[in-house]
């Protein structure tokens, strides 16, 4: 418990690069929101209550004087289905923690601080407070990015000219490299990649993330890795 504060600060520091990219595309969202007539309070309410970038983009896109409440909720459910998998993958990090701890920590889990925490966990130095500190820092960066875009209005009319739309892709590519485990990842990543590309082409919305993730995980379950089975048996007691 006494490590709480240093761990949160360490988490915040580790999230500086991803927060910079979140701020960049947050400002793009802010510009779009200004065109839809959202007030800064609407924006902050959404940032605080939902705190999920991709879903917020779609919500702003569907925003109107007569809110399509049902369609919007359904769209958010589909886009954020990956959080079910993200939540599940945090199981080992939270093992031994109480229910209240889990309830309090999970709201500020986004793609970014989750990915940073997962690559930190490869070194065995990730904690739940590290995750949470990253979440708070990310929330501040995301909120200020959206507000800059909303209130500063129109100073970046064409964000794609500055490759700001690629910031998200680039930062997550860098994080994915950190999650590479070597030979045992060859099969799951190929299967995940093929499934994601197919789903991206043939299914609407963000299904490709869930499709690729699940396909990759299932291929790892079914794949032949006799040698690894032995290594894993030794690893089990540490959980």
């Amino acid at each position: 418990m006494k490590h709480r504060k240093p761990e949160m600060i360490r988490g915040a520091r580790a999230n500086v690069p991803v927060a910079a990219s979140a701020m960049a595309y947050g400002s793009v969202l802010g510009v779009l929101a200004a065109q839809k007539g959202l007030s800064w309070l609407d924006m902050m309410y959404m940032n605080t209550a939902v705190f999920a970038g991709a879903a917020q983009f779609v919500m702003v896109d569907m925003w109107s004087n007569h809110m399509p409440i049902f369609e919007m909720t359904l769209a958010v459910l589909v886009i954020n289905l990956r959080y079910l998998l993200i939540g599940a993958s945090l199981g080992p990090l939270f093992s031994g923690r109480g229910l209240l701890h889990k309830i309090g920590m999970m709201h500020l889990v986004a793609d970014e601080n989750w990915a940073v925490t997962m690559s930190e966990q490869r070194n065995g130095t990730a904690t739940t407070w590290f995750l949470f500190g990253g979440g708070i820092f990310l929330y501040l960066a995301w909120s200020s990015g959206t507000l800059i875009g909303l209130l500063g209005g129109g100073f970046i009319t064409r964000p794609e000219d500055y490759a700001l739309d690629f910031a998200f892709t680039a930062v997550f590519t860098a994080l994915a490299v950190g999650l590479w485990r070597g030979k045992s990842d060859v099969l799951p990543w190929i299967v995940a990649g093929v499934a994601a590309l197919l789903a991206h082409k043939f299914l609407p919305g963000k299904w490709y993330i869930v499709a690729g993730g699940l396909a990759g995980a299932i291929s790892a379950m079914l794949g032949p890795c006799e040698i690894e089975e032995v290594e894993e048996a030794e690893d089990v007691p540490s959980y």
Partner: protein, 103 residues
């Protein structure tokens, strides 16, 4: 000047928030019921990488050959320097340059 929130907005965003939080917490609570070893565990261990790779690959491919080059450069920089910010900026620089020239 303190704007008011329209009741419709209150409900729509509130529902979106409930859905999102339920997924986040639901996944974590489900995980404690999963088996801790064997094939299932192996799948769960492969999940984070597979998920992140699926998240980025379609947007890399959508940028064409230069998207792949930008991603490769990003990967090389992060492997060499362990600096995610520098890697991100290098990737963005490639796309920025290609679009500038393409105009």
């Amino acid at each position: 000047m303190f704007p008011a929130i329209n009741p419709q907005v209150l409900i729509a965003v509130g529902l979106a928030a409930c859905v999102t939080y339920s997924l986040r917490l639901g996944g974590l609570l489900l995980a404690s019921r999963f088996p801790r070893s064997g094939r299932f565990r192996r799948g769960m261990d492969a999940l984070p990488g597979a998920l992140l790779f699926s998240l980025v690959l379609p947007s890399i491919v959508a940028e064409g050959v230069w998207g792949l080059m930008a991603a490769a450069l990003t990967a090389i920089v992060v492997l060499r320097t362990r600096n995610t910010l520098a890697a991100m900026l290098c990737g963005m620089l490639v796309i920025f340059a290609v679009r500038k020239i393409g105009q």
